[in-house]
């Protein structure tokens, strides 16, 4: 009798944590991206999601490789550098019961992909969009990306002379309906935010500082573990409560709590840390980001959410049967229809 088997726990979908795993990672040991993959696994496990109900997408980069390191039983498509958003947009029309989960890097999103990223957000296509943000191009060996810290010095690259692109601010400017920031060194928060994002019915952008241990992890560099650990400034503590659970989170004292109800019935619980922060106020979100940029604060948490905004799928009156399962009879009009049209052209 195998002891390991006996104690292996299953979630209410009847699946073990291993059912959410992927190939073993070929990223560097200690890479922030690996810990994010783990949190994706945990989030999906804890949410009792069925892997076949998730579709993974990515661009190109170390970050974009990671979708093979989780959810091996989910479909996925590794697209082109910076152009995952368009591919995901097309694919997600095929079966709207699937949850889209996109992984990108800072180079992938903020350099080559800035346009597609912003237009995805603008259309509010329902999917989770995670940026594994390390301020460099990892896979091509450590050049500056557009999120690289101003003044950062790197081997062979010299000094970065431009101000960084702020992914969260870009998302907000594009009218994003869910914007969060987190830090790969804070797995609990990463996980809760991913859970909330998976319940959001629109584009959920999560900018996760994810250190590149090989090319950008110097003491006190903005995207390093040490800096993140020392400077993370959570806006609140985040806890996600799925729709069917009753809210009985022990740690949480309802007095200090802000609750955001998502469209699918679930709730994001935000526990006050320092000051009051209201993530449903777009202007406040803009303001806190402007302050954070100015003062080099690594604020983390849920920066903005509008659970009720219309999304791209709402713009189409789609049938219940997924489009990709429609029988051929449903997609070819009749002979009579053609004959009528022909008449119009005489």
């Amino acid at each position: 009798m195998n002891l390991a088997n006996m104690v292996e726990r299953t979630n209410s979908a009847g699946l073990t944590r291993n059912d959410y795993s992927g190939e073993s990672s070929t990223l560097c040991k200690g890479c922030g991206h690996n810990s994010i993959s783990n949190m994706i696994i945990s989030a999906c496990y804890e949410l009792n999601l069925r892997p076949e109900k998730v579709v993974k997408f990515s661009g190109i980069g170390c970050s974009s490789k990671s979708p093979t390191y989780f959810l091996k039983n989910s479909f996925g498509f590794n697209g082109l550098h910076g152009r995952m958003p368009s591919m995901a947009t097309g694919a997600l029309f095929a079966d709207t019961t699937l949850k889209g989960l996109g992984i990108s890097g800072d180079g992938d999103t903020a350099n080559i992909g800035l346009g597609q990223f912003k237009h995805l957000v603008r259309r509010n296509m329902p999917m989770v969009y995670i940026v594994e943000n390390n301020g460099v191009y990892g896979l091509t060996k450590g050049q500056f990306s557009a999120t690289a810290d101003y003044g950062l010095s790197l081997k062979r690259q010299g000094q970065n002379v431009y101000l960084p692109v702020d992914i969260a601010l870009e998302a907000l400017a594009a009218n994003a309906t869910f914007v969060a920031r987190s830090f790969a060194g804070d797995p609990k928060q990463v996980k809760e935010i991913i859970k909330a994002a998976l319940s959001h019915e629109g584009t959920a952008v999560i900018d996760i500082i994810s250190p590149c241990v090989t090319f950008n992890n110097k003491e006190n560099a903005l995207h390093s573990y040490s800096w993140g650990k020392g400077h993370e400034d959570p806006l609140h503590e985040v806890e996600f409560v799925p729709s069917r659970d009753e809210i009985t989170v022990e740690d949480f004292n309802h007095g200090e709590m802000r609750e955001v109800a998502l469209h699918d019935g679930s709730t994001i619980m935000l526990k006050k840390v320092d000051k009051e922060y209201d993530p449903t106020n777009r202007k406040e979100a803009l303001k806190i980001l402007a302050d954070a940029i100015k003062n080099r604060w690594l604020i983390t948490g849920l920066i903005y959410v509008d659970p009720d905004a219309a999304n791209m799928l709402d713009m189409y009156d789609l049938p219940e049967t997924p489009l990709n399962r429609l029988p051929v009879e449903k997609i070819r009009p009749s002979k009579e229809t053609l004959e009528e049209l022909n008449q119009k052209f005489i």
């Binding site: 579709v55 498509f77 590794n78 697209g79 591919m87 699937l98 053609l338």
Partner: protein, 599 residues
């Protein structure tokens, strides 16, 4: 001068944005309804309003529908270009314009001043409409001169204004007054005349873009992302127009096809490929500049074996080139599209009917071989109104290719002892079985990618795996031949010399072949409709001593592709390639042919 009956050509020059399209269309449609074959071409500038625009009509009982560059009749409403226009009129031709003909021209042409002011005054139409209505004057005048049945003009105008009925009367008033005026005052018969025939039975009038859009909608199109670009825009706009009409489920009213205007072509192709991968029949439409931006994504679709249709309505390149002029210049670029070794099925609709047909067939082929299919249409076909046989309902049920749903996988696994992956070549034809997102069979999911992968879609850099995968992929294009359209032997005069042509160059080539035959030079003519080449192409090359490939580009792009496909026969292949932005005339083809034959 002999009277020309049902065999002459007309040039109308106006200013764009002035509404002359309604007038020109009325002429064309009315003649069509008289049962006489006719073709029409719009030569317009790349701006919105205020520059010269030409419209040419050719009526031809003999069914020669190619462009001509000498005209029998000129209608000129744009003085700026009158002098140039007159150079295009044959001696003895008829010139109608807004002013009296200069004395020195009166000998060369039959001239007549259009009674625009007079008619408009008589019609008492609101002054603000005059700028539009003035075009109707030449409709009435011409109808009287060449004997267009005025009731058919009325029919056409009624159709045209079916949504704004009140517009019919003012327009028809002008036509009728002008018609009456000329009929009354005519002293001698016009040298060009029409007589009803019954040659257009079963024909309709529409353009290639509209036909393509409808063809795709009848082909079960489910997703199309696009970005505006002349001359392809109208295709997508027709999708938008007809999709709700004919593709909302009659039972539930729900949409079965999704059209998205993307932010650019990088995104349009990305969306289309994403949809194709996920199991939607999908197509994008664009023109040359857009195709450039799609190059990398199309390579990904080739490599990851995603079915997708790219409909390129060609205009003149390179670069922005002449956006409102026609060409067949994107062929070699398409053939070798994307870095690395690739192959594509390329289709060449040669008329509007085929735009419809390839609209649905391309989707079948793409799903059959799980690879991008490129359709090369062009501005001449796409944006001009053509008479064309009625659209034929597809003669094949929708072909979705090898798709496995939940139970199918079980069966496949059973048959193959559990050994099956996304890229396993079970049938030995290179085409493997694909699954679609949403499939809940635990074996269904795979991770698609543009990188090297094994038969289970796993990443690998193994040299042999790469080579084998790509040898397999190449096989699929043999398989495509089973479903691709065959070439058509358009003329068989049993000559030793042949023409090969394709797409809209068909019309000039067909006529050239006929004219040469009339001169005693038998030149056969094969029209190619697809790449990879069907065996008939090889046979045609074998069977002729010299073959001239006729096309509207500078470098002889189809000739080049034939040469590299048939190196043993390449010496026989000659080029008749010409690009100036206008479709080829029979005369230019003959000149070029004769020049080379002399050598």
């Amino acid at each position: 001068m002999q009277k020309k009956l049902n065999e002459f050509s007309i040039l109308v020059s106006t200013v764009n944005g002035s509404g002359s399209a309604t007038a020109n269309n009325a002429l064309m449609k009315a003649i069509f309804k008289m049962g006489i074959p006719i073709s029409a071409r719009n030569i317009f500038p790349s701006n919105i309003q205020g520059l010269p625009t030409w419209y040419s009509l050719r009526v031809s009982e003999k069914r020669h529908l190619a462009r001509v560059d000498e005209f029998d009749i000129l209608i000129n409403l744009d003085k700026v270009v009158l002098a140039d226009d007159l150079k295009k009129v044959k001696k003895g031709g008829l010139v109608l314009c807004d002013q009296p003909l200069a004395p020195e021209l009166v000998e060369q042409f039959h001239g007549m001043q259009l009674p625009i002011q007079e008619v408009l005054e008589k019609a008492e139409s609101p002054a603000n409409l005059n700028v539009y209505l003035m075009n109707m004057v030449y409709v009435g005048v011409l109808a009287a001169l060449i004997k267009i049945d005025i009731s058919l003009i009325e029919e056409t105008i009624n159709q045209h204004f079916s949504h704004v009925e009140k517009a019919v009367k003012p327009n028809m008033d002008v036509v009728k007054i002008a018609y009456g005026m000329v009929t009354n005052e005519m002293t001698e018969a016009c040298p060009f005349e029409l007589e009803k025939r019954n040659l257009n039975e079963g024909y309709i009038v529409t353009d290639g873009n509209q036909a393509a859009a409808l063809g795709a909608l009848f082909g079960g199109l489910q997703f199309s992302a696009w970005y505006p670009i002349t001359p392809a825009t109208e295709l997508a706009e027709c999708l938008n127009e007809y999709n709700p009409q004919i593709r909302n489920d009659p039972e539930t009213g729900k949409a079965t096809c999704v059209i998205v205007q993307a932010e650019d072509e990088l995104a349009a192709i990305g969306m289309t490929i994403g949809a194709g991968w996920a199991g939607l029949r999908s197509m994008t439409s664009t023109s040359g500049p857009g195709l450039c931006l799609m190059a990398e994504y199309i390579g990904l679709a080739y490599q990851s074996e995603v079915p997708v249709v790219i409909w390129d309505v060609q205009r003149v390149g390179p670069s922005t080139g002449m956006p409102t002029r026609t060409s067949q210049g994107d062929l070699t670029f398409s053939y070798f599209l994307s870095h690395g070794d690739t192959d594509y099925v390329i289709l060449f609709p040669g008329n509007v009917q085929e735009c419809f047909e390839f609209g649905w067939r391309a989707l079948d082929i793409a799903e059959h071989i799980q690879s991008p299919v490129i359709v090369l249409s062009d501005l001449d076909l796409g944006m001009n109104n053509w008479m064309t046989p009625k659209f034929q309902y597809p003669d094949l049920p929708i072909q979705r290719g090898k798709i496995l749903w939940e139970e199918d996988i079980e069966q496949i696994l059973k048959k193959n002892n559990g050994k099956w992956g996304r890229y396993t070549d079970l049938d030995g034809d290179g085409i493997t079985y694909r699954t679609l997102p949403g499939n809940t069979n635990p074996r269904a999911a795979y991770f698609a990618r543009g990188t090297g992968h094994d038969e289970f879609a796993n990443y690998t850099e193994e040299p042999d795996v790469w080579k084998n995968e790509h040898d397999r992929i190449k096989k699929k294009f043999k398989k495509a031949l089973e479903i691709d359209p065959h070439p058509i032997l358009e003329r068989n005069y049993h000559g030793k010399i042949g023409f090969i042509s394709y797409g809209s160059s068909h019309y000039g080539t067909e006529e050239a072949s006929d004219l040469l035959n009339a001169e005693g030079k038998a030149v056969d003519y094969l029209r190619i409709r697809s790449i990879p080449f069907q065996t008939e192409v090889n046979e045609f090359l074998q069977a002729h001593e010299r073959v001239y490939v006729v096309e509207a580009n500078r470098d002889g792009q189809m000739a080049q592709i034939l040469m590299l496909n048939f190196p043993e026969l390449a010496g026989k292949i000659h080029k008749i390639a010409y690009l100036d932005g206008l479709s080829l005339t029979a005369q230019s083809i003959i000149t070029c042919f004769d020049d080379q034959e002399k050598k």
